[in-house]
């Protein structure tokens, strides 16, 4: 019985969050946020570069928070959640970039 309980431990713990992961996630998210606000308020780069840098910082923070706060991963147990997640990201990208693409083309051809 104890042996079995012991054997089950790591499997149950895999999904559990740890203090370390929260601290790492929190500190890196905080640093990324501060960098984003700092470079924007100081106008450190030209307009185009700044937009790209902000987008990259947001994407890094997105992965940091999904990784350390949501604990989403590709392990066999986490796959049930990762597959709908990947699908939703695809749909979100289609909705977002599709709308923006169409509307900018529309506004271009309408000459406004």
């Amino acid at each position: 019985m104890t042996e079995q309980a012991h054997k089950n431990m790591p499997e149950q713990n895999r999904n559990l969050k740890t203090f370390k992961s929260y601290v790492i996630g929190f500190c890196s998210a905080l640093i990324l946020t501060l960098i984003a606000f700092y470079i924007t308020s100081q106008h450190s780069f030209s307009h185009g570069t700044l937009c790209w840098v902000l987008l990259i910082l947001a994407l890094i923070q997105f992965f940091v928070q999904t990784g350390f706060f949501l604990r989403l991963n590709a392990s066999p147990e986490g796959r049930w959640e990762a597959v709908p997640f990947a699908f939703v990201i695809l749909v979100v990208l289609v909705i977002f970039f599709g709308s923006v693409w169409i509307m900018y083309n529309l506004s271009y051809f309408m000459g406004s």
Binding site: F26, T33, L55, F62, L70, F87, V88, I95
Partner: protein, 205 residues
């Protein structure tokens, strides 16, 4: 170990495994809800980007950005994610009072966030920049307001959980409820990353 107790043990194991499996399915269901919520936000973000320059001669984000104010909001929300995580960690060890304490911290931080956002909205409205003033402001209020509404609902939910923890103590059921709200709360923080980047910072450059 008698045969009877062995049978009982075996039965309990099976029951627990079954229960664990059911919990996983429930959490998966809640995950699907969160994923569908993503689509609402995707549509609102797309709307915002399209209407961003439609200021109708009124104010744009360049005029209304206040870096320290938005940064403070962001940090309140980020800290609330962290304190909620501390609550979850304590619930693993069955420390009910500590869980309640961390949840109360989270509620206070969340209220600061919602309060600041409401203050910003009311200030804009009183200055004559309400949601009906321009396409930009409509999209702004719709997107940021929807996020704020989600956070408000999360706070009400959290208050109910604190009360339930006080009445029932920590149990498997409460732990599952804490997991649901934890997913929801982390999701809201992730959406806010894109709100402050796309709406506030990119609008201001």
């Amino acid at each position: 170990m008698t045969t009877q107790s062995m049978i009982n043990d075996h039965h309990d194991d099976g029951h627990e495994a079954h229960q664990h499996h059911m919990d996983q399915i429930d959490i998966f269901g809640f995950w699907i809800y969160i994923m569908s919520d993503c689509l609402i936000f995707a549509a609102l973000f797309a709307t915002f980007i399209v209407l961003r320059d439609g200021t109708a001669g009124g104010i744009s984000m360049k005029d209304m950005i206040d870096y320290p104010y938005t940064l403070a909001e962001t940090i309140f929300l980020l800290c609330s994610s962290f304190t909620y995580g501390m609550g979850i960690l304590n619930s693993y060890h069955g420390k009910t009072h500590k869980v309640m304490m961390w949840l109360v911290f989270t509620i206070i931080l969340g209220c600061c966030f919602v309060g600041m956002e409401l203050n910003e909205f009311i200030g804009l409205h009183l200055a004559g920049h309400g949601p009906t003033s321009s396409g930009f402001l409509s999209a702004f209020f719709a997107l940021v307001g929807t996020h704020g509404f989600h956070v408000t609902m999360g706070l009400i939910w959290m208050i109910i959980l604190v009360i339930q923890l006080g009445i029932y103590g920590d149990s498997k059921t409460m732990q599952r409820r804490l997991t649901y709200l934890g997913l929801f709360w982390a999701f809201l923080d992730i959406v806010w990353i894109f709100v402050f980047t796309i709406v506030y910072l990119m609008g201001a450059v």
